[in-house]
């Protein structure tokens, strides 16, 4: 934008107008995406807020009435919903912690040069590349089925190697349902954590490690004081993004146990309240509670992303 001459009388407003036009031109490519997102995320959420203050069962439309915070009281006093909150927390925490541990260990192992590394890496990623419903179906029928699943089949096979007939046969889906769901999710999410932590290991500046080695630092101390602090951000990011996805998990709970035996998490309960019981008001209230819970995690995610974002800009 060129500076207008001194002799021209109304330079200020002219200036401002072209400036504003310029600004809008710059913004224009952004607007379709922005408007689309606002319309389809913020408006439905507001609708949820409104619906959550109504008693509304779609099968009994005549009984619809405004009830204020009653649905929220129900969410926090109803035993099913309260146990769903606990289940969601346990499920998410267990899966995230265990898969970060496995993923980190495997990342350290894969970060070395060894025979067939490319293939081993690919094999380690495959669990993440199976459609979640399909993976859950295979776990339910082909692996954990008590009479012919791979788990019990392997036990029978190992026992028969030693000439034994009565191998122990397990039925984890009935005896440890939540653990079964967690196991299948840990299997699916370990590759995710491995990939992120591996990226962290590979971005480690080697000159610092070399310098430490020259100064006589042992491998353990290099790991403890250089590698681990460097990995912290990556572990954090992996754990937080993993939490966001696993809090919302529906597929594994729905497929493996159909929410029975104490495995119903909040997404499953919301789905059931709305889709099966047709309690629209109550489902909306539960949904709003899920959002509030996720907001806590989201704040940390946003903070971590922001700090990574800033260092990227400095770079």
């Amino acid at each position: 934008m060129s500076r207008t001459g001194v002799e021209q009388v109304p330079p200020v407003s002219q200036h401002a107008r072209t400036g504003r036009r310029q600004a809008w031109l710059r913004r224009a490519p952004l607007l379709p995406a922005l408007i689309f997102m606002i319309a389809l995320t913020q408006v439905p959420f507001l609708a949820s807020l409104v619906i959550s203050t109504y008693h509304w069962n779609s099968l009994l439309p005549d009984e619809t009435k405004f009830v204020g915070f009653d649905n929220y009281v129900t969410v926090f006093t109803d035993t099913d919903l309260r146990s769903a909150v606990i289940t969601t927390f346990l499920l998410t925490a267990t899966v995230v912690i265990v898969s970060v541990f496995f993923g980190g260990t495997i990342a350290l192992l894969v970060n070395r040069k060894f025979f067939g590394r490319g293939l081993a890496r690919t094999m380690l990623i495959t669990p993440f590349l199976i459609v979640p419903v399909a993976a859950a179906l295979v776990w339910k029928h082909a692996i954990l089925n008590p009479s012919y699943g791979l788990l019990n089949g392997t036990l029978t096979w190992i026992w028969s190697l030693f000439g034994q007939q009565n191998a122990p046969q397990l039925d984890p889906l009935s005896t440890h349902p939540l653990m079964s769901v967690e196991a299948s999710l840990i299997w699916q999410w370990t590759p995710f954590m491995m990939l992120i932590i591996l990226a962290g290991l590979q971005s480690q500046p080697m000159d610092i490690v070399e310098a430490a080695r020259v100064d006589g630092a042992g491998e353990f101390n290099i790991f403890r004081f250089i590698t681990l602090p460097h990995l912290r951000r990556y572990v954090e990011l992996g754990a937080l993004l993993g939490s966001i996805y696993i809090v919302q998990n529906f597929d594994a709970v729905f497929t493996l146990t159909s929410g029975a035996l104490g495995t119903a998490n909040l997404p499953y309960i919301v789905y059931q309240t709305f889709y099966v019981s047709n309690e629209y008001g109550l489902a909306s209230a539960a949904g709003v509670v899920v959002v509030a819970g996720t907001l806590v995690i989201a704040t940390f995610v946003l903070r971590t992303m922001f700090s990574m974002f800033r260092t990227e800009l400095v770079r």
């Binding site: 025979f115 490319g118 690919t122 199976i130 791979l150 392997t154 096979w157 995710f192 919302q248 997404p267």
Partner: protein
């Protein structure tokens, strides 16, 4: 989880040559003992994690009788009957329509997402906009919102405008789910483009479209490919929304698979064949995008 993968054939180990250059001889000799042990552990873990997938692949090629034995019959004759069953050889229930629906929703939403996300990412990374950081983080925050909270309003909206059991409505919902990912990913790829390149093009009098097409597109094409593959995977995998918003005619492949949740007698080979067929597009997309996968999953935060 507790499925010792050693049962599954460890054949691939010997068939591929080491892709990486061998380390210098002296290091190898110095570390050889521990090195071999760690390599063995790594391979065991790789087999353990790939085990269920390999088992699923093998079972899908077995007959139903051979699939349901205890102990497992690894060397049973291979057959395509599981795949035939899945495609409705006897039942007459064909998964083709759900598969096509999934393809339309996933590819369609991915293309539309790119159309919206590319200009937005361009504006956010190249042109300096007031409060651009706020906008960027607004996009991110929408990705943090659990979709269950929007399920009922989306259902009511679909009901109101006639979008229930319609593939176009599902396509729009998938756009909402993937747009923030695409904006963030594309922004991170565009941020790698040197500003001087764009300025040079502008000084030479190139229009916006020319700059985009001739200067930016070639540079970010790999990034765009990775972005589309990730968006495709997320849409293809989605179950909850599809289950609520579609019924018979717009049913997607994951919804079709929920028909196998409860046991139906001997149907293990069929289930494994079904799981294989529906996972193949994701396996191909994921392995193609392997080197950009992390950048995509972390929305561009990790390179």
């Amino acid at each position: 989880m507790r499925s010792p993968a050693s049962v599954v054939e460890p054949a691939p180990a010997t068939t591929t040559p080491a892709a990486l250059p061998a380390p210098p001889v002296h290091t190898r000799r110095r570390r050889s003992g521990g090195h071999l042990l760690l390599t063995a552990v790594t391979w065991l873990l790789a087999l353990f994690f790939a085990g269920p997938v390999l088992w699923m692949l093998l079972t899908s090629f077995h007959s139903e009788a051979d699939a349901a034995t205890n102990p497992p019959s690894l060397l049973a004759p291979l057959t395509l009957s599981g795949y035939g069953e899945f495609f409705g050889a006897n039942s007459g229930i064909s998964p083709v329509r759900p598969l096509v629906n999934s393809l339309i929703a996933s590819v369609g939403s991915t293309v539309m997402v790119l159309v919206l996300a590319l200009p937005a990412a361009y504006a956010l990374s190249i042109k300096s906009i007031v409060k651009w950081r706020d906008v960027l983080f607004f996009f991110l925050s929408t990705k943090m919102m659990p979709i269950v909270a929007a399920l009922l309003p989306l259902y009511l909206l679909a009901n109101y405008i006639g979008g229930l059991d319609k593939i176009w409505f599902l396509l729009i919902v998938y756009m909402v789910m993937n747009l923030p990912i695409a904006v963030w990913m594309l922004r991170s790829f565009l941020a790698d483009v040197p500003v001087e390149m764009i300025e040079a093009a502008e000084i030479d009098g190139a229009s916006l479209m020319t700059t985009l097409r001739r200067v930016l597109l070639p540079v970010i094409l790999p990034g765009m490919a990775a972005t589309s593959l990730i968006c495709f995977i997320f849409s293809w995998n989605e179950l909850l929304v599809a289950r609520v918003l579609t019924g018979v005619s717009a049913q997607t492949a994951p919804v079709f698979l929920t028909g196998f949740v409860s046991s139906q007698g001997l149907f293990l080979a069929k289930v494994c064949a079904a799981s294989m067929v529906i996972s193949i597009p994701v396996l191909i997309a994921g392995l193609t995008a392997q080197d950009k996968f992390v950048q995509g999953l972390t929305l561009g935060a990790v390179k």
